[in-house]
């Protein structure tokens, strides 16, 4: 059984190779030069300091939501509602900023308070999905999906209604906040905030140690793997399900808050930017292991940022990164299935 480790690494490698081959096939079919495309993605991600900093900007929310999702996957639930939780985080943060911006309080206090408000917003939206599951018997996938639509609609209504720019409502979002209320960034042009980076790294470390060495993490694992037995062994199961949802919501809300306070400095319609769904992919590809989440999330962020170059240089759609990411996730999961089916079932612990 021990020899399963190199085998699993080999299968992962095979998955990456096949995913690249598939994406190349898509490029060939659409008569685009594959080598050029890949070169542009790589250069677009790491070609200059600006681009590297953009990758990190997109790594922060991705890592935050992945950290949260690892908790809900550990307890055995699918928090599809993560997108909505990011949006609610952003909405609550914007709301707090709007309330406090002319209060005359210290900007650092206002920023902190509005980020905290975002965390509360994300948690509330997550607890709602959790409560629908625990008390209403609504599958968390359906509940979460529904709440995503509600959150998107709420966001659009705010942008085009009560919070619209003076004069004319616009797809470009609400009126930007004054510079004093922006999370301090590395340079004046950069959108990369060192404090956001630190928050994301701390978040994934917290999740790692929570699952690895605490009663809380062990109970989450027990509920996720066998809720019936965990209950008989004395674990209050629904409370732990709710707690994992609430925590995941806190991380998602934090991601939304950072999008508002350091990246866009306002509320925009696409504020969640699909990070929630991408986080689901990252969590699945790392098999819910916190230790691997940071590098894989970084890779996904790089792919995303890199592919922005494609429409500019090659007149290709930037969704090519999505093709590569999607096929990668499918193939890695397929590889895990192959390993279990043909090489005995060894569980990572």
């Amino acid at each position: 059984m021990r020899k399963a480790r190199p085998l699993s690494a080999l299968l992962q490698l095979a998955a990456v190779v096949v995913a690249l081959a598939l994406t190349t096939a898509v490029l060939v079919v659409t008569k685009a030069p594959p080598f050029q495309a890949y070169k542009n993605i790589v250069l677009g991600a790491v070609g200059s300091w600006d681009e590297i900093s953009n990758v990190l900007v997109s790594w922060v929310p991705l890592l935050l939501v992945t950290a949260g999702l690892i908790l809900t996957f550990t307890v055995g639930l699918w928090n599809i509602g993560i997108e909505g939780q990011i949006i609610l985080g952003a909405i609550f943060t914007t709301w707090a900023l709007r309330l406090l911006q002319s209060s005359g309080m210290h900007p650092a206090f206002i920023i902190t308070a509005s980020i905290l408000a975002g965390m509360v917003g994300g948690a509330l939206w997550a607890v709602l999905a959790g409560a629908l599951k625990a008390f209403g018997g609504v599958n968390e996938i359906f509940g979460g999906l529904g709440l995503n639509f509600v959150a998107t609609a709420l966001n659009l209504w705010l942008i085009f209604g009560p919070w619209k720019r003076p004069g004319v409502a616009s797809m470009s979002g609400t009126m930007p906040f004054p510079r004093a209320l922006w999370l301090p960034t590395l340079t004046a042009q950069s959108r990369l905030s060192p404090s956001a980076l630190i928050i994301a790294i701390v978040a994934i470390l917290v999740v790692y140690f929570l699952i690895r060495g605490t009663y809380f993490g062990l109970r989450l694992k027990a509920v996720g793997r066998n809720a019936n037995a965990a209950y008989l062994l004395g674990v209050p199961t629904w409370q732990y399900m709710m707690a994992s949802f609430a925590l995941c919501g806190v991380f998602a809300g934090l991601a939304g808050a950072i999008q508002v306070t350091s990246v866009y400095n306002r509320l925009i319609p696409a504020i969640s930017s699909g990070y929630g769904y991408m986080g689901l992919m990252v969590a699945m590809i790392v098999n819910y292991q916190a230790a691997l989440a940071a590098p894989v999330a970084l890779f996904f962020a790089a792919l995303n940022v890199g592919s922005i170059q494609l429409p500019i240089v090659l007149k290709l759609d930037s969704s090519l990164a999505g093709v590569l990411q999607g096929s990668l996730v499918l193939l890695v999961i397929l590889g895990q299935g192959v390993r279990q089916r043909f090489f005995g079932k060894e569980r990572p612990s």
């Binding site: 009663y215 027990a222 019936n228 037995a229 008989l232 062994l233 569980r347 612990s349």
Partner: protein
Amino acid sequence: MRVDLRDIYKTFGQVHANAGISLVIPSSTIQGILGENGAGKSTLMKILSGFILPDNGEIALDGTAVVIHSPADAIRRGIGMLHQDPLDFPPMKLVDNFILGREGSLFPDRRGAAREFRELASQFGFALDPDAYVDTLTVGERQQLEILRLLWLGARVLILDEPTTGISQPQKEKLFATLKTLASRGVTIIFVSHKLEDVEYLCSQVAVLRQGKLVGTASPPYETRSFVQMMFGREVSFGGRRSGVAGRPILSLERVCLEGVRLQIQDVTLDVHAGEVIGLAGMEGSGQAMFLSACGGLARPVAGKIGLDSRNVTGQSHHSFKRQGVVYLPAARLERGLVPGLTLTEHFVLSEGAGGFFIDRRAAAGLAAERIQTFNIKGTPTSTVESLSGGNQQRMLLALLRTPLSLILLEHPTRGLDIESTMYVWAKLKERCAQGTAIVFISADLDEILQYSDRVVVFFTGRVSPSLAAESLSVAELGELIGGKGWERFAGEAARA
């Protein structure tokens, strides 16, 4: 049909599951195969029924050597196997189940099959309706269905794997009568069991396996002690019934009414005292499981009162029962008792539920190592629970019990365990009783009920008997009560649901 097994070998990795087994089973024989768990019984039967191929050796049917490639191949050659858990399709009609295994045209002849089904069923006195759905049947009836199906497919050798587990006494008697009839018609029966009594009663010859080898054969009259010696390589003795004086009442039920999906229980009044063992008997689904759940706070009574240590706990959650020293051990160990994927150490950490935030790994590993040794579990602190054998999983459940406990509730505490593990489990439980813990358990095994209980409560379609002293009950009496006979005598005491 005459079956010859000649020098059968099968190894799995390092384990010699079958090491040179040779056995001749003539036509019309009821051949018993005895052995504890892991002795190689199942492997041998899987080889004969085509699930696996032997590494070496030969099978001959009526003197002709054959190679059996698959279960379908086996049934074509006349060998049918009845598995411990019936392999049927609960949401389907009996007749559809019946024709499923048949090779034939695209459009099966349902009407013809139903007619043949009725004929066959009436030959054996089985009251089965071909148009009923399988999920309405009891385990015993599903067994009957499976026997009919195999016979219809032309089985002349019938292999039964632990067929008396989970069925009632009357159903068992019917099964045995059927097997005897079949044998008299020339069918060869192979009866795999670890229940000595069943084997002694039924079989015309017996082979005993131990560690993959055939260690002995016997024909009537049988001597139980020599069987036990052959199975275990030594003599073991059964512990007797503990007849201690019952202490203060631990659990008291007062006119409790329960409502399940299909049945109701009404007005049960019962006191369980410290140090007492109460056995709940009845056919599966007669209400005893619901009753046991209610005793542990896992099912809420619709009326009546439940008291623990003279505190009213009616309607409270299982966890509040648990805080007062009640523990519930389910029969489905891996499904409801243990968490697959977690290690033994992690289980001990969970069940001890110590305070604090961070887990003290070293202390946890120490505790695990100590319990593993005390309870003689074949595993390490870092083994996952699903890597343990059934007997060791049951030991693990016992090792997880905290001290002190006031009440242990068990579903089928020894189902699927061999004799040695069974005795171990009960020895540990009786230790608890001596410390004043009360035990309430469900079992389908009447001997187990009578052997270990102080009092017995019988369930029949939601009717609940008053508690009966175990020492004044016989297997026959208990069997009749389970089958619904002789309830008139409780007329004044037990209410009908």
